[in-house]
């Protein structure tokens, strides 16, 4: 399956080809992104690491912000 990934930190978008049973956590491993420092959204909803990805998904990877 092909999914479109927007990475907010680098302001970049890429299309990634993944196996059909891939979950969010697998995608983050593939992209070498630490899962503890990001939030992942599909369209306009946050999804968990266990969420199953689907063909043509639009995924956004947002960096957690902690400064005050």
């Amino acid at each position: 399956m092909k999914i479109k990934v927007y990475i907010e930190r680098t302001n970049s978008t890429k299309t990634v080809e993944l196996k059909n049973n891939y979950k969010v956590i697998d995608l983050l491993k593939e992209l070498k992104i630490d899962h503890t420092v990001v939030l992942v959204a599909r369209s306009d909803s946050l999804i968990t690491e266990d969420a199953q990805l689907k063909d043509n998904d639009n995924i956004k990877i947002l960096s957690v912000i902690s400064g005050g």
Binding site: R9, V37, L39, L46, V64, I65, S66, G68
Partner: protein, 318 residues
């Protein structure tokens, strides 16, 4: 008379009197907190101010309650002085403390807690306290030109731990990326806006909001409760119980580390530090270019890395 303009608004109207009975605790009086405190004081809301730090020159770019005369003095005390000049009718309590599991019960007994802190550990602690005591809180954070915020109202929204994970990773911070003073003002305004709704029992935002002020963009993301959440589902309050408390933490803003050790004799430390540096002492702390020490045992150390911070601590404190 003082609140005439906001009483004219249908959103506030006759709820102004109700608002004036409310108490909001602000955790962190830095860039976000000094702006939220300013707006809430002007709106007539009683405040509890908690901050562990002193004012430094590099804070003045964005921390709007302070001026050059405040440098070297505790933020919460200086903030209270300024806010009292703005609105002498409200009650303000100020604490020069590091919010932790031992003192949280006595410090933030309020109707609403505003997170204006600079670290995730404090946010997980506030989250535990909020759920256990059924008190709403609002997360707000900034980095660069970006900011995030989320309202957490027990029983009505998912909690912070439903969404955010514990992390030991070293991430980008205001040291490495910097921060624009317009984004800190913006997110403080959003936080106060949501506070007014929550305090007056009106409909509030239930999404995570993300702003990029440079691009003038705002995104809202729906959030779902995690049925396995340690805090709001399992009611396992690890941060409130002190199980996940670190004695040494990296702070945002400058190359700062906080080490919490045994109580410190400030006079004695001042004598020792004066031999090596331009140390100064006041009723709250001893401070020099490399460290600020409080009598309760807290030491803020400016260092390039963790090891250098530990080494400075060993040399001057322990």
């Amino acid at each position: 008379m003082r609140y005439q303009k906001q009483e004219l608004l249908s959103y506030i109207g006759n709820k102004q009197e109700f608002l004036q009975k409310k108490v909001v605790a602000i955790v962190g009086l830095g860039a976000i907190g000094s702006n939220t405190a300013n707006l809430l004081a002007r709106a007539g809301i009683n405040l509890i101010l908690i901050d562990r730090d002193i004012v430094e020159l590099e804070n003045l770019q964005r921390q709007t309650l302070y001026d050059e005369k405040d440098i070297g003095k505790p933020k919460s005390i200086q903030a209270k002085k300024k806010l009292k000049l703005i609105n002498s009718e409200i009650k303000i309590e100020a604490f020069v403390e590091d919010l932790n599991y031992k003192n949280i019960d006595e410090l933030i007994n309020s109707d609403l807690i505003l997170d204006c802190s600079d670290n995730m550990e404090t946010r997980f602690l506030i989250n535990d306290y909020s759920i256990k005591n059924d008190i709403p809180w609002i997360y707000a954070a900034v980095l660069g030109v970006n900011a995030m915020s989320m309202n957490i109202v027990p029983q009505k929204t998912p909690c912070f731990r439903c969404i955010f994970k514990e992390s030991n990773a070293i991430t980008e911070n205001c040291d490495s990326v910097g921060v624009l003073n317009t984004i800190t003002n913006l997110i403080a305004t959003i936080q106060v806006n949501e506070s007014l709704k929550i305090l007056t029992n009106q409909e509030f935002n239930k999404s995570l909001v993300l702003f990029n002020i440079w691009n003038l963009s705002m995104q809202k993301f729906k959030i779902n409760k995690n049925i396995h959440c340690e805090a709001c589902s399992n009611l396992n309050f690890e941060y409130l119980d002190g199980k996940n408390t670190k004695q040494l933490i990296k702070l945002c803003g400058t190359n700062s580390f906080q080490i919490h050790g045994n109580p410190i004799d400030l006079e004695n430390l001042y004598e020792r530090l004066s031999k090596f540096s331009d140390a100064k002492i006041n009723e709250y702390c001893v401070y020099s270019t490399s460290l600020t020490a409080f009598s309760d045992g807290r030491v803020l150390i400016r260092a390039e890395n963790l090891n250098q911070a530990k080494s400075l601590y060993s040399r001057f404190i322990s």
